[in-house]
């Protein structure tokens, strides 16, 4: 039996990327994924980088007569970078905090359908498969690097994957 769409982490990654891209966040930060790096020349003034790290799964029992259910989670980490030129208007200094708060709130209330991009690039939706959060996101202020101030929002994303019984 082929790997079920809910068991492909690529689908989780892509679904979250599309979800993040569609959010309304203060300052409209651009989004880069984990292996897209920026250097000081071409980096926008405000951007966020999204990484996902795997966590252990737990068998939950049967999903159906032919499928088992596994509760899985991945740690989503979004690093927000905001350039801080010396003449930055003071009101803009709070943009990154507002962006972090917006993002944390969106993660707190998140429940979105898992989309199968692996077998269909336009995306199809497996039945009864949602990505959601069970924890309140952690928001941290990191020390500035490369002339950018930084905030970090992290939270485990949970879903139930299925595998052949």
């Amino acid at each position: 039996m082929a790997t079920h769409a809910t068991a492909k982490t690529m689908n989780v990654r892509a679904t979250l990327y599309v979800w993040l891209s569609g959010l309304t966040i203060t300052g409209s930060p651009s989004l880069v994924v984990q292996d897209q790096l920026r250097d000081g020349q071409d980096a926008p003034d405000l951007f966020m980088r999204f990484t996902l790290e795997g966590l252990p799964g737990q068998f939950q029992g049967r999903f159906s007569s032919s499928l088992l259910a596994v509760r899985q989670s991945m740690l989503a980490v979004v690093d927000i970078f905001s350039r801080t030129p010396a003449d930055q208007a003071s009101s803009n200094l709070y943009t990154i905090d507002k962006a972090a708060d917006d993002l944390a709130y969106q993660f707190t209330v998140m429940s979105t359908a898992l989309v199968d991009y692996a077998s269909d690039s336009s995306g199809s939706t497996p039945t009864d498969a949602r990505l959601y959060t069970l924890d309140v996101p952690t928001v941290r202020a990191l020390p500035p690097t490369d002339g950018y101030v930084r905030r970090q929002v992290s939270v485990p994303i949970t879903w139930h994957s299925r595998k052949a019984a």
Binding site: G40, E53, P56, Q58, D79, S154
Partner: protein, 158 residues
């Protein structure tokens, strides 16, 4: 500097442990915290090496977690990889509190530890500490569920 703090403090776990601890020796939490701390340390080292590999030039950052484990007298810490570049004071562990408040704090003093964990514009974050702590929480929740089921079964499913 980078590090983490481990405390057996989830509300569910605490409620159910409270009942046990009234009957058990006061230092029962101490080995549990130390075991969780070592598991997290080992998971961080595995993450640096395997799960989300970070370029290892000297191994000093990774060895900082070994040094912290040794500083805290953790059984098994000596089995974690060291480095010829390791320096005295690269890792530290601080214990505080008693009973349910017993806490271990792990600190990696290597000066670029924060950059490896959280990345820069030019380098993706390792997220090794954050991932290991989140994984430990998943394990603790699973143990809590087993504990709750065990208690429930012991009292006839009440």
């Amino acid at each position: 500097m980078s590090g983490f703090t481990v405390q057996v403090s989830t509300q569910q776990f605490r409620r159910e442990l409270d009942a046990f601890l009234r009957l058990l020796p006061a230092d029962v939490v101490r080995p549990a915290v130390k075991k969780i701390t070592f598991d997290v340390l080992a998971d961080i080292v595995r993450g640096i090496t395997v799960d989300a590999p970070t370029r290892v030039d000297t191994g000093r950052y990774r060895a900082g977690y070994r040094a912290a484990g040794l500083s805290g007298g953790l059984q098994g810490a000596a089995s974690l990889p060291g480095s010829p570049e390791a320096q005295a004071g690269d890792g530290e562990m601080i214990y505080s509190g008693e009973g349910l408040e017993f806490t271990s704090e792990v600190i990696n003093h290597v000066d670029y530890a924060m950059l490896v964990e959280n990345g820069t514009m030019r380098m993706r974050p390792g997220n090794h500490v954050k991932r290991a702590l989140a994984a430990a929480k998943v394990d603790i929740v699973a143990v809590t569920e087993e504990l709750r089921k065990g208690i429930s079964d012991a009292f006839g499913g009440q």
